[in-house]
C-alpha cells in the first residue's frame, strides 16, 4: 500500500508515492538523498493501471522535492500527514525540522492528460479500497481540476495567443481569471495550496506557475479535444491564414496542434490585436470615477398599449460605482446645459457629459441598440418595445452587469411569482387516517408515506389561476411579457408550452404521500420544465409540510406528567414534532446539535405515547445504539422515565428466539447494540416492533453493509434516527439515514447522487441545495446551539457525564487485574500491600482508558516502567521530588511510602516526560473500538468537528494523549494539537495561539491535565471533555475554566467520561453524594485507598455487571 501524491513540474503532472511497508520497516535515506520510502516506478504504474486500465500509464521519471526532515547530523525525511496517520506516528514538538532535497521516482503524465488523470484518480480512489491511499495534497488538486472543468462548462474560457521565447506562436484556451470573484477564487486556491505542491526543488516555492500551468493545460486539453472531435477544423479549411488574422488565430485553436500559421510578421500583430481585444474584458476592473447606469421603466399603468407594442424606456444616468448611487440623470444633465450655468458649473457639466458619452460608447459595444442613442446630440435614454425590453432584461442585463455597468429593472423580474407556476393541491382530511391514529401493531412499514392523498394541479400566472383556454390564447399572442391584473408576467414561450402539456397530462386523482412530496419539490413526476412553485394542502398534510413555521399546529402544551425531567421549550417542540410524525406513521431524523438533548426528547416521546394510550400496551421500541453509549441510555431511561420497562439485549446470556420475543413483549424498550442487531437479526426481525430508533444513526453507512441490511429488514411501524452530525452537509449520510426512516423518499442512491450530491458537493449549485433542504424539511429536525430560539434557552455551562460501557477486552483485563490484586493483597502487608494496591489502581485506570495504554503498546519506555511497577513494586522509585501537595499528603500517608506520590496520576505524567520522540504506534493500538471511551470520543469529536465546533480533551496521562492524537489523526483525519508537561514555553504559546485563532483548521486540543489545566485561555473551545478523571472536582473545574471564562460567547458543554461499573463510576458517585469517604478522596491522591480493607477494596474496585458486558 502506498500514499499517492501529485506535483507539477516541467509542464507535466508527476505522480509519486510513499510506501507504507517501507516506512513500517523503518528504511532510512541513503547518501544520495533518495526518498527512503518512494514507491518504485513499476509499482506505481501497476497500481495506477489497476485503478483504470485505460489510462495509458505515463512515463517513469524522477522528481526532486524539498521535504521536511527531522534535523540532526543525518536528516531523516518525515512521512506525509497521511502516511503518518496510517503509521500511527505521533510527532513531538521536541523535533527540529529542516527542509532538505530528496528524490523520488515518479510517473510523468503529459500536460494534456493531467486533468483527465486527476479526475480519474479521484473517482477510482473514491470507490476502490486497497493499494492506494490519497495524500492530503490530492484534495487540493481535485479542487483545481473542478475549477477548470467548471470554467469550461460555464463558458468562462477565452482563446489567447502565446509567444514562447525562441519565437513560436501558439494558440491556447485558458480560463478567464480576471473577474473579481474568479480572481478571489484563484487567490483562495493559491493560499490553500499545500506546501508540498510547490516544493519541487528549483521552482523557488512559487505557487502561481503551478496553478497557471495546470489550469492552462487542463482547460486547453478539454476544449481542444472536444473541438477536434467536432471537426471545427473544417470550418477554416478553405481559408487563408496568411491573409486573415482570424483564420490565423483559429489555426492555433481548433486543431490538435497549437501552432499558429500566419503570413510574414502577422503573428506579432495577432498577439497585439488579441491582447487589445482581451484587454476589453478587463475594463470592468478599472477604477472609473463614474459609470453608466441604465434604468428600465415599465409602461405606465394607464398607457394606451400594454401589449407587445407598449413603450418601455431605458433611462441613462451616471452612477457612483462605489455606492451604486445615481450622481445625475442624463436628462437632468442635458436639460440644465443652458446659458444660465457658467464657469465652473458648466465645465463640470461638460466633463460629465463627456463621461456619459464615453460610457455609452463602451456599453454600445456590448448592447448594440445603444448605437441609435449615440446618434442623438443629447442622448438621455432609448425606447424599447416589449420584446426588446424582455431581451434587455433577460439577456443583456447580466452581461452589462458583468462589464461593470449598473442596471436597474423592475423588481418583479426574476421573482417566481412573475413566472408561470404549477401548484400542487393536496386534499386530506383534518383527522388522521384511522389506521394511523390507532397505531395498529404490525402495520406495514412506512405506512404514512404510502398513504393515498387526493391531488390536482393548478397553473398560475402571478396570483391568477389560469385555464387551458387562456393559456392557448396567450400562446397564440407570442408576447414574452404580458400584463395581467396590473402585474407583468414573464411568459416564456417554452413555459406556456410545458404548462399546456402539463395541464392536459395531469388531470389529478390520488397518489401516495411520498409521490406528492417528491413531486411538489420538483423531483419526480412532470418531466416538463415547469417550475413547481409549491404545494398547498388541506388537513393533516398541511400540518406536515408546514414544517417549523407551523409548529404551533402540533405543539403540545406540556410534557407527559410521568416524565421525571424538565423539557426546555425547544425540546418540547422537538417532542411534539416526533409525536406528530409518529401519529402519522412517519419516520424522521432528529439531528439536533450535540448537547441539545436528543436522548431526553426521545425518552419523552416514549413516555408520551404511554400517556396517550391510556395504559394500553403500545408495543416495544427497539433502541439500537453503539456499545459505548448503551450504559448512558440505560441510565437516562431510568432517571427520566423509571416506569418504562427496559430489556437489555446484550451479553452472552441474552435471550434468543421465543424467550427474546416474550422479553420484548413485556418491555417498553429493548436496548441493544449495532453488533447484536446483526447477530440476532433473525429473532429481531420476527418481532413486530412499535418503532425502531437508531442512535448515532450515521452508523447506517453507505454502501450498505450487512449491518445496514439487517437493520432495514426489521419490521416496525415507524423509524426514528438520532444523529448529531450536520446531515445537510454529508449527503451520502443523509441519504442512508432517510432511506432508513423514510424508505424511498430520496429515491435510489445513484439517482440521488446525480440529482443532488454531485451538483451540491462538486458544482456548489445553490438551487439544488435549496431544493434538497425543502424536500427533507418535513422529516429532518436539526436545531443548532446557535439558533436564536435555542440559545436563549441554554445556560452558559452544561455539564454531563458520559457513561461509557467497557469493551469485552477491557472487561476481561479489568476483572483479571482486580482478581490478581485481591489475591495478592490478602497475603501482603504494610508497604508491599500499599504498593500492590496503588499499582493495581493505575492499571485499572489505564484499562478504562484503552487496553493498549495498559498493555504498554502506547509508549514502550513508559509502559515498561509501569509493567515493572505492576510486578509488585520493584521499581516504583521514579525520581520525583515530593511535596507538591505537601501537607495533606504528609498527614494522610506514612512517609515511609516511597511510591505513593509517583503513582499520583499528575506526577505520572512528569515521570513519562523523557519519552523518546517520535513515537510510532502499532495499528492495533489505534483501534478505537477496543475501548468504550475512545470509541465514544471518536463519535463525539466527529460530530464536534463536523459542526464547526472545537473541543479540549483533558487526560492525566501523556502517553494516553499521544495515543489520542494518533487515533484522532487516523480515524478523523484531523491533526489535533497536543500540550503536555514537556512542551516548551514558546511552543505552548504557539499552540494556544493556533487554537484560539478559531479558523477551523485545528478544532481539537488534547491537553495533559497538569500542564494544560491552569493558566491558559482557550475560549475558542465550546466543548470540554474529561477523558479520564482526576478525583478532585476543583482541579477538573479549573481545567474546564480554560474554555468557560470571560471571552466565551457560546455555551460550554462539559463531558465527563465515566466507565460504567468500574471504580471510576463508584468514586464518581461517592463524590457526587458527598459521602464521608469522599472527603478523604478529594485532594488526597490515591493514598486513602491503600488504607481500605480487602473487603472494602473488593466492593470498590470489582466490576459491577450491568448486563451490558461481554457481547460475544
Amino acid at each position: 500500500m502506498f500514499v499517492l501524491h501529485a506535483n507539477w513540474s516541467g509542464s507535466a503532472l508527476h505522480l509519486w508515492g510513499e510506501s507504507l511497508s517501507a516506512a513500517r520497516l523503518g528504511h532510512t535515506a541513503s547518501r544520495t538523498a533518495a526518498h527512503p520510502w518512494g514507491t518504485a516506478a513499476k509499482d506505481l504504474t501497476a497500481a495506477l493501471d489497476a485503478l483504470d486500465a485505460g489510462l495509458g500509464s505515463g512515463t517513469p521519471d524522477t522528481l526532486r522535492l524539498l521535504l521536511p526532515h527531522l534535523g540532526g547530523a543525518a536528516p531523516q525525511v518525515l512521512p506525509s500527514s497521511k502516511l503518518a496517520a496510517l503509521l500511527g506516528r505521533v510527532s513531538d514538538d521536541a523535533e527540529t525540522l529542516t527542509l532538505e532535497p530528496c528524490t523520488v521516482p515518479s510517473i510523468r503524465v503529459a500536460a494534456s492528460h493531467a486533468l483527465d488523470r486527476i479526475l480519474k484518480i479521484r473517482s477510482a480512489l473514491a470507490s476502490a479500497d486497497g493499494m492506494i491511499a490519497a495524500g492530503h495534497d490530492l484534495e487540493w488538486w481535485y479542487s483545481l481540476a473542478d475549477f477548470s472543468v467548471n470554467a469550461v462548462a460555464d463558458q468562462r474560457v477565452v482563446p489567447t495567443v502565446i509567444q514562447e521565447q525562441g519565437g513560436g506562436f501558439r494558440g491556447q484556451w485558458r480560463p478567464w481569471l480576471n473577474d473579481s470573484d474568479t480572481n478571489e477564487s484563484v487567490a483562495d486556491l493559491i493560499a490553500s495550496m499545500p506546501a508540498v505542491v510547490r516544493a519541487v526543488d528549483g521552482a523557488d516555492g512559487q505557487a502561481w506557475p503551478i496553478v497557471d500551468g495546470f489550469l492552462a493545460a487542463a482547460t486547453d486539453s478539454l476544449v481542444r479535444d472536444s473541438l477536434v472531435a467536432e471537426t471545427y477544423e473544417d470550418s477554416i479549411e478553405a481559408c487563408d491564414p496568411t491573409t486573415d488574422p482570424h483564420v490565423s488565430w483559429l489555426t492555433g485553436l481548433v486543431r490538435s496542434t497549437d501552432a499558429i500559421r500566419t503570413g510574414r510578421g502577422g503573428a506579432f500583430d495577432l498577439l497585439r490585436g488579441a491582447r487589445g481585444w482581451l484587454g476589453l474584458l478587463d475594463e470592468a476592473r478599472e477604477a472609473r470615477a463614474l459609470c453608466l447606469g441604465l434604468r428600465l421603466e415599465e409602461p405606465a399603468l394607464d398607457a394606451a398599449d400594454t401589449g407587445i407594442d407598449a413603450t418601455w424606456r431605458v433611462h441613462f444616468m451616471l452612477v457612483d460605482p462605489e455606492t451604486n448611487e445615481t450622481v445625475i440623470d442624463a436628462s437632468a444633465l442635458f436639460s440644465r446645459g443652458d446659458a444660465r450655468r457658467r464657469g465652473a458649473a458648466q465645465a463640470r457639466d461638460e466633463e460629465l457629459s463627456g463621461m456619459l458619452l464615453q460610457e455609452l460608447a463602451r456599453a454600445s459595444r456590448i448592447w448594440t441598440e445603444l448605437d441609435d442613442a449615440l446618434e442623438e446630440e443629447r442622448p438621455t435614454g432609448i425606447d424599447l418595445d416589449t420584446r426588446r425590453a424582455y431581451q434587455f432584461m433577460r439577456e443583456m442585463r447580466p452581461i452589462l452587469l458583468e462589464a461593470g455597468f449598473v442596471v436597474e429593472i423592475p423588481s418583479w423580474w426574476g421573482e417566481s411569482t412573475s413566472r408561470i407556476n404549477a401548484h400542487l393541491l393536496i386534499d386530506s382530511p383534518d383527522e388522521l387516517p384511522p389506521m394511523m391514529s390507532q397505531g395498529a401493531r404490525g402495520a406495514a412499514l412506512g405506512g404514512g408515506l404510502q398513504s393515498l392523498v387526493g391531488y390536482r394541479w393548478q397553473v398560475t400566472l402571478g396570483s391568477q389561476v389560469v385555464s387551458v383556454d387562456m393559456l392557448e390564447r396567450l400562446a397564440a399572442n407570442k408576447a414574452p411579457l404580458v400584463r395581467i391584473g396590473g402585474q407583468w408576467i414573464d411568459l416564456r414561450p417554452e413555459d406556456i408550452e410545458s404548462a399546456l402539456r402539463f395541464l392536459r397530462g395531469h388531470p389529478g386523482g390520488t397518489m401516495t404521500l411520498i409521490e406528492a412530496l417528491r413531486m411538489a419539490n420538483g423531483i419526480d413526476g412532470p418531466p416538463e420544465a415547469l417550475p413547481v412553485a409549491g404545494i398547498q394542502a388541506t388537513g393533516w398534510v398541511r400540518q406536515l409540510i408546514a414544517g417549523d413555521d407551523g409548529s404551533e399546529s402540533f405543539r403540545l402544551t406540556e410534557a407527559p406528567s410521568a416524565f421525571k425531567g424538565t423539557l426546555r421549550p425547544y425540546q418540547l417542540s422537538g417532542l411534539s414534532w416526533l409525536a406528530f410524525l409518529d401519529r402519522l406513521g412517519l419516520g424522521g431524523c432528529l439531528a439536533d446539535d450535540m448537547g441539545l438533548g436528543k436522548t431526553i426528547q426521545l425518552i419523552a416521546l416514549l413516555q408520551h405515547e404511554r400517556a396517550v394510550s391510556g395504559g394500553q400496551p403500545v408495543g416495544p421500541t427497539l433502541l439500537v445504539t453503539p456499545m459505548s453509549v448503551m450504559g448512558n441510555w440505560r441510565r437516562e431511561l431510568q432517571r427520566f422515565s423509571p416506569e418504562l420497562r427496559v430489556h437489555i439485549q446484550h451479553g452472552l446470556d441474552r435471550p434468543a428466539g421465543e424467550r427474546l420475543r416474550s422479553a420484548a413483549e413485556s418491555a417498553d424498550v429493548v436496548l441493544t447494540t449495532y453488533a447484536i442487531t446483526v447477530r440476532d437479526k433473525d429473532d429481531l426481525q420476527s418481532i413486530p416492533w412499535r418503532r425502531v430508533v437508531l442512535d448515532e444513526a450515521q452508523y447506517i453507512k453507505n454502501p450498505p453493509t450487512k449491518q445496514t441490511a439487517a437493520i432495514r429488514a426489521i419490521q416496525s411501524q415507524s423509524r426514528i434516527a438520532l444523529t448529531g452530525t450536520p446531515v445537510e452537509n454529508r449527503l451520502a449520510e443523509l441519504w442512508s439515514i432517510l432511506e432508513f426512516c423514510c424508505p424511498g423518499y430520496l429515491g435510489s442512491q445513484p439517482d440521488f447522487r446525480r440529482r443532488f450530491a454531485v451538483p451540491i458537493e462538486r458544482n456548489r449549485d445553490p438551487k439544488s441545495g435549496e431544493r434538497l433542504r425543502h424536500l427533507v424539511r418535513p422529516f429532518v429536525l436539526r436545531r443548532l446551539k446557535t439558533d436564536r430560539t435555542v440559545i436563549s434557552d441554554l445556560p452558559p455551562l452544561v455539564e454531563a457525564r458520559q457513561h461509557i460501557t467497557l469493551s469485552d477486552e477491557q472487561t476481561r483485563l479489568y476483572e483479571q487485574v482486580v482478581k490478581t490484586m485481591l489475591q495478592q493483597v490478602d497475603q501482603a502487608e504494610g508497604i508491599r500491600r500499599r504498593g500492590l494496591i496503588l499499582s493495581a489502581l493505575v492499571k485499572l485506570k489505564q484499562i478504562c482508558n484503552h487496553p493498549s495504554h495498559y498493555l504498554g503498546e502506547v509508549a514502550p519506555v513508559a509502559a515498561a516502567k509501569e509493567a515493572n511497577a505492576a510486578d509488585g513494586g520493584k521499581k516504583i522509585d521514579r525520581k520525583k521530588p515530593a511535596g507538591k501537595r505537601g501537607a495533606q499528603q504528609a498527614t494522610a500517608k506514612p512517609a515511609a511510602l516511597p511510591s505513593d506520590e509517583t503513582l499520583d496520576p499528575l506526577d505520572a505524567i512528569d515521570a513519562q516526560e523523557n519519552l523518546a520522540a517520535p513515537i510510532v504506534l502499532p495499528p492495533a493500538a489505534l483501534e478505537p473500538a477496543r475501548s468504550g471511551k475512545t470509541q465514544r470520543l471518536m463519535e463525539m469529536l466527529d460530530e464536534i468537528v463536523a459542526a464547526g465546533d472545537s473541543a479540549l480533551v483533558f487526560t492525566q496521562y501523556r502517553a494516553m494523549g499521544h495515543l489520542l492524537v494518533a487515533m484522532i489523526r487516523q480515524v478523523l483525519d484531523v491533526d489535533a494539537l497536543f500540550l503536555h508537561g514537556g512542551t516548551a514555553q514558546g511552543r505552548r504559546d504557539e499552540l494556544v495561539e493556533r487554537f484560539q485563532r478559531g479558523d477551523g483548521s485545528t478544532p481539537i486540543f488534547v491537553l495533559s491535565l497538569k500542564a494544560g489545566g491552569v493558566g491558559l485561555n482557550l475560549t475558542a473551545a465550546n466543548h470540554v471533555i474529561h477523558f479520564d478523571r482526576w478525583w478532585n472536582p476543583a482541579v477538573e473545574n479549573q481545567a474546564t475554566d480554560r474554555a468557560f471564562r470571560i471571552g466565551q460567547t457560546r455555551t460550554v458543554n462539559v463531558h465527563k467520561y465515566v466507565c460504567t461499573g468500574t471504580l471510576e463510576e463508584r468514586i464518581d458517585q461517592m463524590i457526587e453524594q458527598k459521602t464521608e469517604l469522599a472527603a478523604n478522596i478529594i485532594g488526597a491522591g490515591d493514598a486513602w485507598l491503600t488504607e481500605l480493607s480487602t473487603g472494602q477494596l473488593k466492593d470498590l474496585l470489582s466490576l459491577r455487571r450491568t448486563g451490558m458486558e461481554g457481547g460475544e
Binding site: W140, D154, Q163, P194, W277
Partner: protein, 304 residues
C-alpha cells in the same frame, strides 16, 4: 563640404505658383548642421540631383511648394506645385527591411534596455546605425543613395517626367529631412515599420526573455500576490494539507451561468479579419458548455 547652389544665379522670371498652407522649409541653420541621422539623406539628394534641380528644389522648399506629404511604411508620397496648374505627384520608395531582418534588429535592440528607453522619448541613439550595419541588413539605417534607378534608396518617381531626382523631389526631401530632425524614429517607418510597433516589439521581446513567454491575456492580480504563498520553510509543520481557504473556495457559489457572457462582453473583433470569428466562437462556446457539463457529471476529459 559640398558646394551649394548659388542663389544669386537663380532665374527670377518664372516663379512657381503660390501654395497656400504648403510645407515651408523654415530651418534657421538652413541646410547646414543636420544631425547624423538626417544629414546624409539631404546631402545625398542634393549631390545626386542636377545642380539646377538642386538649387530650384531648395528654393521650392523655402517658398513652401510642397502641398502634401504622407509618410507611410517604406514610402513617402508628396505633391509639389511647380509652374504648372496641377501639382506633381512624387514618391520616395525606400528599401525596407524584410521581416527576418527586422526580427534580427529587434532582437539586437532588445538586448539592451537603453534602446527602448531612448525610443520612448523619441531619441535615436547613433549606435543603432552601427548595429544595423553589423547585422548586415539589406540597407543602412539612414538612406543615402537617392536616384531613379531600381537600386536607388530611396528610388524617386515624379509625374514631372524629368530626370530623377528632380527639383520637386529635392524640395520634398527638404521637408522630410526637417521633420526627421525632430522625429528621428521616422527612419524606422521609412524602413518599413512604424516606431510604435518597433517599441512594442522590443518590449515584447524583453518580457519574453524575462518571463520565457509573452501572451495576449492579462493575468489576474492573484498571480502576483506573493503574500498568498509564504516561504516553504515556514510551513514545515503543516506541509501536506490544503489550507483552510480551500473551504472558503468550496463555499463560494460557482460563477452563475450567463450564456456567452465573455463573448458578448468582448463585442466585435478589432483584428480586422474577414472570417466570422465571433460567430464561430459562439458555436464553439456551445460545444464547450455541452462538453463541460458532461465532464462535470463525471465523463472524463480524454474519455474517448
Amino acid at each position: 563640404m559640398t558646394q551649394l547652389p548659388d542663389q544669386s544665379r537663380q532665374r527670377q522670371s518664372e516663379n512657381p505658383r503660390r501654395v497656400i498652407g504648403g510645407f515651408r522649409f523654415k530651418r534657421k541653420g538652413g541646410i547646414e548642421n543636420f544631425p547624423w541621422h538626417a544629414d546624409p539623406l539631404l546631402r545625398s539628394i542634393l549631390m545626386a540631383a542636377a545642380p539646377e534641380a538642386a538649387e530650384e528644389g531648395n528654393r521650392y522648399a523655402i517658398s513652401g511648394q510642397t502641398a502634401t506629404m504622407i509618410v507611410a511604411a517604406g514610402k513617402v508620397s508628396a505633391s509639389v506645385l511647380g509652374r504648372a496648374s496641377r501639382p506633381y505627384q512624387l514618391e520616395f520608395h525606400f528599401s525596407t527591411w524584410s521581416p527576418e531582418e527586422w526580427e534580427r534588429l529587434i532582437g539586437a535592440l532588445s538586448a539592451e534596455a537603453l534602446y527602448s528607453a531612448r525610443f520612448l522619448v523619441d531619441e535615436m541613439p547613433p549606435t543603432v546605425a552601427t548595429l544595423a550595419e553589423s547585422l548586415s541588413l539589406g540597407a543602412p539605417l539612414v538612406p543615402s543613395k537617392p536616384g531613379g534607378k531600381s537600386a536607388s534608396d530611396p528610388r524617386t518617381t515624379c509625374t514631372c517626367g524629368g530626370q530623377q531626382p528632380c527639383k520637386h523631389a529635392v524640395a520634398a526631401m527638404h521637408i522630410l529631412v526637417e521633420r526627421l530632425e525632430t522625429e528621428p524614429l521616422l527612419l524606422f517607418t521609412l524602413r518599413g515599420m512604424p516606431p510604435k510597433q518597433v517599441i512594442e516589439r522590443i518590449q515584447e521581446r524583453r518580457t519574453l526573455s524575462a518571463r520565457g513567454e509573452s501572451h495576449a491575456h492579462p493575468l489576474p492580480s492573484a498571480a502576483s500576490d506573493h503574500s498568498l504563498a509564504p516561504p516553504l520553510a515556514s510551513q514545515l509543520e503543516d506541509f501536506w494539507r490544503p489550507g483552510r481557504r480551500l473551504h472558503d473556495y468550496a463555499a463560494r457559489p460557482a460563477h452563475p451561468h450567463v450564456p456567452y457572457a465573455l463573448l458578448r462582453r468582448l463585442g466585435a473583433s478589432p483584428l480586422g479579419g474577414k472570417f466570422p470569428l465571433v460567430g464561430l466562437l459562439a458555436s464553439i462556446y456551445d460545444s464547450l458548455r455541452t462538453r463541460g457539463l458532461r465532464a462535470r457529471d463525471g465523463d472524463p476529459p480524454n474519455g474517448t
